[in-house]
């Protein structure tokens, strides 16, 4: 029974008679405020943060430099060529947009299901969503070739008297991704307003007071404000939950609506959504494990939180694995030579190593999470989460490049090789993501202070006088 007991420093037990606490260390309202704000209010920066920031900022610069080189030179700097015109840029796009989905899922769907453990990680996950969507949005933007004409994607009255084709999945993508970015940003910001007010009220310098004050909008925590705020938050959650499902479904339509063998399949929308949640949760764990240790948030983001996320990773890994199996079965059952070949080629063709890596990282490695030891040991979950991210990137690579390089006519087959710019952009997009993330950790409330307080296990705060 020892693994069921809930101890003061460990809330991973499952005592059926006691609700496990969601914060450890005898937290009070003031100590929650102090713990979270201390990160954003620290004087100067630590050496570790500076080194991490220097590395990620350098990669970000390399990212934008390579985009500049692409714009002035042309898309020939990529390895994209006949027949693989959708290579790394689209792989990276789908990868990043999928990463983003866990943030919305944690925020919105867990909120609607009244999962209170979300409160410690939702801010963090929503920030990840925004940054991932920013990385994702860049890739289709530069993939259009003539970047300066990307505004043609929007329906606006123009001198060419033309309108976009609203029956094209690529246009649906424009609407889905831009709506997703807008709604995620509003959801994130609305949730953060009370916490920005906290930082405003604690600010010691005029510049911090002015900037946090500006973004806190004059929030004064009135009951009438909270009433409308909670209702707006619930509405946004209820809107974001179906939105996140629609976004990755629409992304999958980019493939499923075309007639390329290996793409033209009805399983894609749920398969893509499950994969997105899978990779997104893995990214939250990847970021959370070091961040909670580094910024002293172990009592708010407890092992139980991580364990819960690992359980979701395990579940979505099973869904993704089931989808892989279904794909193989349907390609055989379809009786279509091209479908059968597409999947034979995916597993045993020139990119078969990518398929093997995908199955290993996405289906086999997460099975470790059946063991409680693995679900609750930070370094093990970090390794698994990183491998899941690798696997999910390769899943998109295998689907996109594998299917395009060998479709119908063998005379039209080709082999895809990425260039140095392709690789630099992939690495650079991680640089952008981590740069934004480090800035977020340093200057904004990483944990939703106002949301953690109501779920504190305490019933009586420690006696403090003003």
């Amino acid at each position: 029974m020892s693994d069921l007991a809930i101890r003061a420093d460990d809330n991973t037990g499952n005592d059926p008679l006691r609700r496990a606490p969601l914060a450890l260390g005898g937290q009070t309202y003031a100590s929650v405020t102090e713990t979270v704000c201390a990160v954003a209010e620290r004087e100067g920066t630590t050496r570790a943060w500076r080194i991490a920031f220097a590395v990620s900022a350098t990669l970000t610069l390399a990212f934008f430099a390579s985009i500049g080189y692409l714009i002035v030179t042309g898309v020939g700097v990529w390895g994209n060529t006949n027949p693989v015109y959708w290579a790394f840029p689209i792989v990276n796009f789908v990868f990043w947009i999928g990463i983003g989905h866990a943030g919305t899922l944690i925020s919105a769907i867990l909120f609607l299901f009244r999962q209170k453990w979300r409160t410690s990680i939702n801010r963090f996950a929503e920030a990840m969503t925004i940054f991932a969507v920013m990385c994702a949005g860049i890739f289709p933007g530069i993939h259009v070739g003539r970047v300066w004409l990307a505004y043609w994607l929007a329906p606006y009255p123009n001198q060419m008297l033309l309108w976009p084709n609203f029956r094209s999945p690529l246009l649906w993508d424009v609407f889905a991704v831009s709506t997703y970015a807008t709604v995620s940003a509003m959801f994130w910001y609305l949730g953060m307003v009370p916490d920005l007010a906290t930082l405003r009220d604690r600010a010691k310098t005029p510049i911090r007071r002015t900037l946090y004050g500006l973004f806190a909008l004059g929030w004064h925590g009135s009951a009438r404000q909270w009433h409308r705020y909670e209702r707006a938050y619930l509405l946004l959650a209820a809107l974001a939950a179906p939105l996140v499902l629609s976004v990755h479904s629409v992304v999958s339509f980019d493939f499923a609506v075309s007639q390329v063998p290996g793409w033209h399949t009805t399983i894609f929308p749920p398969y893509f959504v499950a994969g997105a949640i899978f990779s997104g949760f893995a990214m939250v764990v990847t970021l959370m494990v070091p961040a909670r240790a580094f910024f002293g948030l172990k009592n708010l983001v407890t092992v139980r939180h991580l364990e819960n996320m690992n359980k979701i990773i395990l579940l979505t890994s099973l869904i993704v694995g089931y989808a892989y199996g279904t794909e193989l079965f349907i390609s055989w059952y379809s009786g279509s030579t091209y479908e059968r070949f597409a999947f034979f080629n995916r597993a045993f063709g020139p990119l078969g190593w990518g398929y093997g890596l995908m199955v290993l990282c996405n289906v086999l490695v997460p099975q470790l999470f059946w063991f409680k030891k693995c679900r609750t040991t930070p370094w093990i979950m970090l390794v698994v989460a990183v491998l899941v991210n690798v696997g999910m990137w390769f899943e998109r690579f295998v689907i996109i490049v594998g299917s395009l390089s060998r479709d119908y006519l063998p005379s039209s087959w080709g082999h895809y090789v990425p260039t140095a710019i392709d690789l630099l952009m992939l690495v650079g997009s991680f640089g952008l993501f981590f740069t934004l993330f480090l800035l977020f950790c340093r200057y904004l409330p990483m944990v939703a202070i106002a949301e953690v307080k109501p779920v504190l296990p305490v019933t009586k705060p420690a006696d403090e006088t003003a």
């Binding site: 405020t33 004409l149 309108w163 709506t179 906290t198 405003r200 007071r209 004059g218 004064h220 809107l239």
Partner: protein
């Protein structure tokens, strides 16, 4: 921000209301019920997080925000459907593989996204607007103690604007509440702060400047101009490619126009049959048409003639085409060229063929528009016209002569 107001204010201050501080959410709820029962109307509770049970205690009615969101969502659906139908089916019907111009399944994704977008924008902006945010100069921030409202303290505030407010009486009432820690006033400036004139001038200037672009667009739409349209990006006007009559750095002769490889003939360009392609037999014009003559070719010749030749030469070949009539009407110089006079009748067919191909005098060459087989068809039709225009009654078959009388 106003909460940074110095402790000794420069402008005269008056009491804007009273604050009562609590350290527990439960005592705040109990206090709220008593404030409501005491008949105050312009008052509020403040807390670091939403306190459950405070809404009934304060008598807060449900917000209308959900209804605004429902309205915005409906508007989003309508806007999306009308936009997709009007742009793709009405204003510029876009035929994609023969699919219907407007069919709901293909239009659902965009409709759904706009439903969400409109609703979410309304939920977000509506919540801010209903909450009166942004509002930076709230007098409640004048009390530094209130800064703990975003940390660990709970407050009841009663505004001096409340009809039941009296500074001493209200203070005594607040102090009588269970669990109250402190009661303190908060202040506002006695007179509303003046906005500097420079702000008004800058605002007026900004509004005037903002009117320029729409006015220019309206002017451009209302007037006509011979100038080409302005392109934001001149990609189509100056393209990065080698054009005819320009230098090319790659070839030794520096020409961007390339001749065919010597001794080769492009597919379909051999044209070895001199009679068929040149209308010549050695140095002589051919005198008979080198293609098969049938009714189909005659009809083709008539059709081609009426397209390419009749505008000048006229439908009957007498040179009275619409161009000739127009020149006559406008008294412009025009050389009327009949195809059915004695001179034309005597021309060998090869010569007519050659004229169609290369032009003659003021007539432009039609070789590029009319391929050789069609040229011969036209020649045939011209010969038919010549025959018809110079016919006698003897040329008409006996049984039809009566009809001509």
């Amino acid at each position: 921000m106003n909460h940074d107001r110095p402790s000794v204010p420069e402008t005269p201050q008056v009491v804007a209301g009273l604050l009562a501080e609590f350290d527990r959410p439960e005592t705040l709820v109990a206090a709220a019920a008593r404030v409501k029962a005491a008949g105050y109307r312009t008052w509020d509770c403040h807390s670091p997080f939403p306190v459950h049970g405070i809404d009934p205690a304060m008598g807060i009615r449900p917000t209308i925000l959900p209804w605004l969101v429902v309205g915005a969502g409906t508007a989003g659906v309508l806007v999306a459907l009308v936009m997709q139908w009007w742009t793709n089916a009405v204003d510029y019907p876009l035929n994609i593989s023969g699919k219907p111009l407007f069919s709901l399944p293909a239009n659902i994704p965009v409709t759904f996204e706009l439903l969400i977008l409109f609703s979410a924008l309304t939920a977000f902006l509506g919540a801010l607007a209903l909450n009166g945010l942004p509002f930076f100069s709230n007098p409640i921030f004048s009390n530094p103690r209130f800064r703990r409202v975003t940390n660990d303290r709970f407050f009841v505030s009663i505004s001096a604007a409340d009809p039941a407010f009296g500074e001493e009486a209200t203070r005594a009432f607040l102090q009588s509440l269970d669990g109250v820690a402190v009661v303190e006033p908060f202040h506002r400036p006695a007179a509303p702060p003046k906005i500097p004139a420079a702000f008004h001038i800058a605002g007026a200037l900004a509004v005037c400047m903002a009117c320029f672009p729409p006015l220019l667009i309206a002017y451009a739409r209302a007037t006509k101009s011979a100038k080409p349209r302005i392109h934001v990006w001149p990609d189509m006007d100056s393209q990065a490619k080698y054009q005819t009559q320009t230098a090319h750095p790659l070839f030794p002769d520096r020409r961007s126009m390339r001749a065919g490889v010597p001794g080769t003939v492009a597919v379909g360009r051999l044209n070895a049959d001199e009679r068929l392609y040149e209308g010549k037999d050695g140095e002589q014009w051919v005198t008979s048409v080198p293609v098969e003559i049938d009714a189909e070719r005659m009809r083709r010749g008539k059709e081609r003639y009426e397209i390419y030749c009749a505008p000048c030469h006229g439908l009957s070949g007498e040179g009275d085409g619409i161009m000739a009539q127009r020149a006559l009407e406008r008294e412009e110089p025009w050389v009327r060229r009949s195809l059915v006079d004695d001179y034309a009748v005597k021309l060998p067919v090869g010569s007519i063929f050659n004229t169609i191909r290369h032009g003659k005098n003021t007539m432009l060459p039609y070789g590029a528009q009319v391929p050789p087989a069609d040229r011969w068809a036209i020649v045939l039709y011209v010969k038919a016209l010549q025959r018809a225009q110079n016919a006698t009654i003897d040329d008409v078959p006996e049984e039809l002569r009566d009809k001509l009388q």
